[in-house]
């Protein structure tokens, strides 16, 4: 590099304004001044007008024409193609509108792609073939510059006199730090105390004037035992206003009608707190997975396992819905249920343990 530098500085600086230089010579002089050297430079087609060159030109022109047609097509499709969605059970045969989106994509792709390929071919095939080498100047500034800048910065600190004035230093700190706090304080508005949100659900009697809460279907129908066949299951919600909406996202339960022998097993295995929580052969578990909260709702009749589709935790229905496989650690809380004199299911109380995923202070 040093040799090259030596060379170029030995060169007489060219006078670019004298009018005798060709344009390319001026370009070269500019490159030289910017530390760039041409290693290799030749026109793509030294002999102009050859067959190959003509062919490439035609190809590029073709690309641009395709691009133009594509873009016009896009506008035309956008404006004139029937686009109103028609729902048809059998695929909407004969309806043009179902081709609307594909046609838009296709025409736009043609428009953009034609332009892109045309420009790329132009750049690759018609522009002069060149290889240049440019010097790099990295590795920091020279020593003198560093010294000067260092002095300037040092001087600046000196001028403020912050070092000599400790009282101002401390006062400034006191003045500025609280401003930082003030800047983030508004975020405090976001804080909402969890209260007992995480440990109560829609089945809490307080949602029903202190009366036990019934079980209902999504459409509001109260649940009766005869609605579920043996081995079957339904999703039930607290029978309160908005009970089946996302306002009570913690509340859905899976109500299962167990077969006799399974019901017996479940009763025998029941944890102490769940004794009597079952009503005959019916058992209700929280649907909210104790792992991270997906609805665990794939019930496998054969094995009596409930599978959560999110991370495949599996819970054994006949044994307190305790996790038997996968990443979940704790059983699905059981909802103590009973049937009232009108024959409808109701929750004897809210869940006995918090439903859903674990959290720090759950204990």
């Amino acid at each position: 590099m040093s040799a090259a530098q030596h060379d170029s500085s030995a060169n007489e600086p060219v006078d670019v304004t004298d009018g005798k230089l060709s344009r390319f010579e001026i370009v070269k002089e500019g490159l030289r001044r910017d530390g760039i050297e041409i290693l290799h430079y030749e026109p793509a087609f030294p002999v102009p007008g050859t067959k190959v060159e003509k062919r490439i030109e035609r190809f590029i022109a073709f690309c641009f024409v395709v691009a133009g047609l594509g873009a016009l097509g896009f506008v035309a499709v956008f404006a004139f193609w029937p686009w109103e969605y028609e729902y048809a059970e059998f695929g909407g045969a004969g309806s043009m509108s179902k081709w609307y989106t594909p046609m838009l994509g296709l025409t736009l792709a043609l428009g953009l792609g034609g332009l892109g390929i045309g420009i790329l071919t132009w750049a690759k095939k018609l522009l002069p073939v060149e290889e240049l080498v440019q010097e790099r100047h990295d590795g920091g500034s020279n020593e003198e510059d560093r010294v000067i800048t260092g002095a300037v910065v040092g001087n600046m600190v000196e001028e403020t006199g912050i070092k000599r004035r400790p009282m101002l230093k401390r006062a400034l700190l006191f003045g500025a730090a609280p401003l930082g706090l003030a800047a983030i304080a508004p975020l405090g508005t976001l804080i909402v105390p969890p209260g007992d949100d995480l440990v109560t659900t829609g089945f809490n009697p307080r949602n029903n004037d202190g009366q036990p809460v019934g079980l209902m279907l999504k459409d509001g129908t109260r649940v009766r035992p005869d609605m579920i066949s043996v081995g079957g299951q339904i999703t039930a919600f607290p029978a309160i206003p908005d009970g089946s909406t996302n306002k009570h996202a913690d509340s859905p339960v899976l109500l299962i009608h167990l077969r006799d022998e399974d019901a017996k097993k479940a009763r025998e295995n029941a944890y102490e707190m769940y004794e009597g929580a079952q009503w005959n052969n019916y058992i209700a578990y929280s649907k909210i997975c104790t792992h991270v909260g997906c609805p665990a709702s794939l019930y496998e009749q054969q094995t009596n396992r409930l599978l959560c589709p999110c991370h495949q935790s599996q819970f054994l229905i006949t044994d307190n819905a305790k996790p038997v496989f996968g990443p979940a650690t704790r059983h699905l809380p059981q909802l103590p249920i009973d049937v009232d004199e009108d024959g409808f299911f109701y929750a004897v109380s809210d869940f006995l343990v918090p439903i859903g995923p674990a959290f720090w202070e759950r204990g």
Binding site: D34, I36, G116, I191, D197, P309, G326, P327, G363
Partner: protein
């Protein structure tokens, strides 16, 4: 009145002069236009990310004109019959409207989604290129860190984006985000409540995610991208080794017209691919999922591919919950919070980690071929294998279903695999690198294997090698060449012995000779042996 003549030819000069008078542009503009860029296909990967980002800004702006980030309940009355009359949030309703009732809305929505996938994929591949070629070394550590932050932002930007339509799938994602937030020790339940503005799902989360998705995160990304690209300019692009290339120069072609034209064309092409996919390949058909309901989830609900590693990690991690003193540290905290943290910070800090071991403080403008740094390449391959295992596990229920494998076996396979495979990958990759190095050195010393066997009078067979140099040492053997960090030709056609055979594939380009003229067949000098390397 005399009309002033308009001289079109002088116009550019005049405009240039006027601009220069005001902004003193002549020198900086010239330097910019003649800046030399090195050329290699692998340097284009970052551009794919950049261009998809632009497409995302354009399509996203269109979507924002019609999307309503509100969780207010409405009855759907749009044209998609199966959902008519169903209660849903305004967010979901307006997304359905974009898909069915707004002219061209569906194609833009699908382009936005495909563009996002392409964006993250391009970032990942670009990071891989930068990693495996050692481009992150001094003086480019800052730009690596900025790039890694951009990846993290892209990850969350994507997550935010597919959470806001409030369909069945995105709601499930929100639920998981909620559960993971809850698992943070000490502040979990408070953090989750702050994020969702109360109990899950609450009424504000979509609105909050929306403003993060369209303003805050893309704003930061835009600024960082500007710095990222600006630094590439200021520091000049690194280059692969090769003839004439040193640590102190850049060999390539000029920014204008060559580089700019190629970039412009390439942008159009990336845009075209996204448009094509957006039009012809369906993605996220959220009308099939229905509005989000806390009690409903379908199996096979996978996140976008770049989140799947996290999902997989969560699936594989055992149910190790710590509890005591009335407090719980949920198991999901480890894979989801710590796992994600490690997955983001280790790559972010990699340049500094590597330097601790290599003690290498030199400037590096020449790239390294992956084989020339076996340890780094092996570390990278190990990372890739972990990513692959966890990503595949993120879909293990689908794989189990499609291939009729037991789901539990898939999970156990993943658990064992994630311990064993990375170690194996590290070892095997390192051996492969060393082997490739060895082969390079062999070819440099002995020449290219020609595939021509000779038999000595004493019956031994040996293969003729084509040396890569004419120079010989004092014994008359071809000189052993120095490895210069770049591809060593290993096939005869690389040194011009055979023409690449692609031309004339469909119709022969040779002109059949005159079959009556036997002289060409008998001519002695057309049947020469390869002389080189016969010593």
């Amino acid at each position: 009145m005399k009309r002033r003549k308009f001289d079109a030819a002088a116009l550019p000069g005049k405009v240039g002069g006027a601009l220069d008078d005001r902004f003193k542009l002549a020198s900086p503009a010239r330097k910019l236009m003649t800046k030399v860029f090195p050329d290699h296909w692998s340097f284009l990967l970052g551009e794919i990310a950049l261009f998809s980002f632009i497409v995302l800004l354009l399509t996203g702006t269109f979507l924002a004109l019609f999307f309503e980030p509100s969780m207010v309940e409405v009855h759907y009355e749009g044209s998609y019959l199966p959902l008519r009359g169903i209660e849903m949030s305004k967010a979901y309703e307006s997304t359905l409207n974009i898909s069915f009732d707004i002219r061209g809305g569906l194609v833009i929505r699908q382009m936005h989604h495909w563009g996002a996938l392409l964006f993250v994929a391009a970032i990942l591949v670009h990071m891989g290129r930068t990693f495996f070629s050692g481009a992150f070394r001094k003086p480019r550590e800052t730009n690596w860190v900025i790039g890694a932050i951009l990846f993290i932002l892209a990850f969350f930007e994507g997550l935010l984006g597919y959470s806001i339509p409030d369909d069945g799938l995105s709601g499930t994602g929100l639920r998981i985000i909620h559960g993971i937030t809850e698992s943070i020790p000490l502040i979990g339940s408070w953090a989750a409540h702050a994020l969702f503005g109360g109990e899950f799902p609450g009424e504000v989360i979509i609105t909050r995610f929306y403003i993060l998705h369209v303003l805050l995160v893309p704003g930061i990304m835009l600024a960082l991208i500007a710095v990222h690209v600006g630094l590439v300019f200021a520091q000049k692009h690194s280059q692969w080794p090769g003839p004439g290339r040193t640590e102190n120069n850049v060999v390539g072609y000029r920014m204008f017209p060559n580089y700019a034209a190629k970039q412009g064309g390439f942008f159009m092409l990336v845009f075209a691919v996204i448009a094509f996919m957006g039009g012809l390949f369906q993605i996220n058909p959220l009308w099939l999922f229905g509005p989000y309901e806390a009690s409903v989830v379908s199996s096979g609900s996978q996140p976008d591919f770049y989140v799947m590693f996290l999902d997989g990690l969560v699936r594989l991690f055992p149910n190790w919950e710590l509890s005591g003193f009335g407090f719980i540290l949920p198991a999901v905290f480890w894979p989801a919070v710590i796992g994600m943290g490690v997955a983001f910070t280790v790559p972010l800090l990699y340049p500094f980690i590597e330097r601790r071991f290599t003690k290498d403080r030199a400037h590096h403008n020449l790239l390294e071929r992956p084989r020339d740094n076996p340890t780094r390449t092996a570390v990278g391959a190990m990372f890739a294998s972990i990513w692959l295992i966890t990503t595949v596990t993120g879909a293990n229920d689908i794989i189990a279903d499609k291939f009729n494998i037991s789901l539990n076996a898939m999970t156990w396979g993943g658990r064992i695999g994630i311990v064993v495979i990375p170690v194996l990958t590290f070892y095997i990759t390192k051996r492969i690198c060393l082997g490739l190095q060895q082969h390079d050195r062999e070819v440099l010393a002995h020449g290219i294997e020609t595939g021509i066997m000779r038999r000595d009078p004493d019956g031994r067979f040996y293969e003729i090698h084509q040396p890569l140099t004419d120079e010989v040492d004092e014994h008359g053997h071809p000189k052993v060449l120095e490895y210069n960090g770049w591809t060593v030709p290993k096939k005869m056609n690389r040194v011009g012995a055979l023409k690449p055979g692609l031309r004339g594939f469909f119709k022969p380009i040779e002109i059949p000779g005159d079959s009556t003229d036997q002289s060409s067949l008998d001519s002695k000098d057309t049947r020469e042996e390869i002389e080189a390397g016969k010593k």
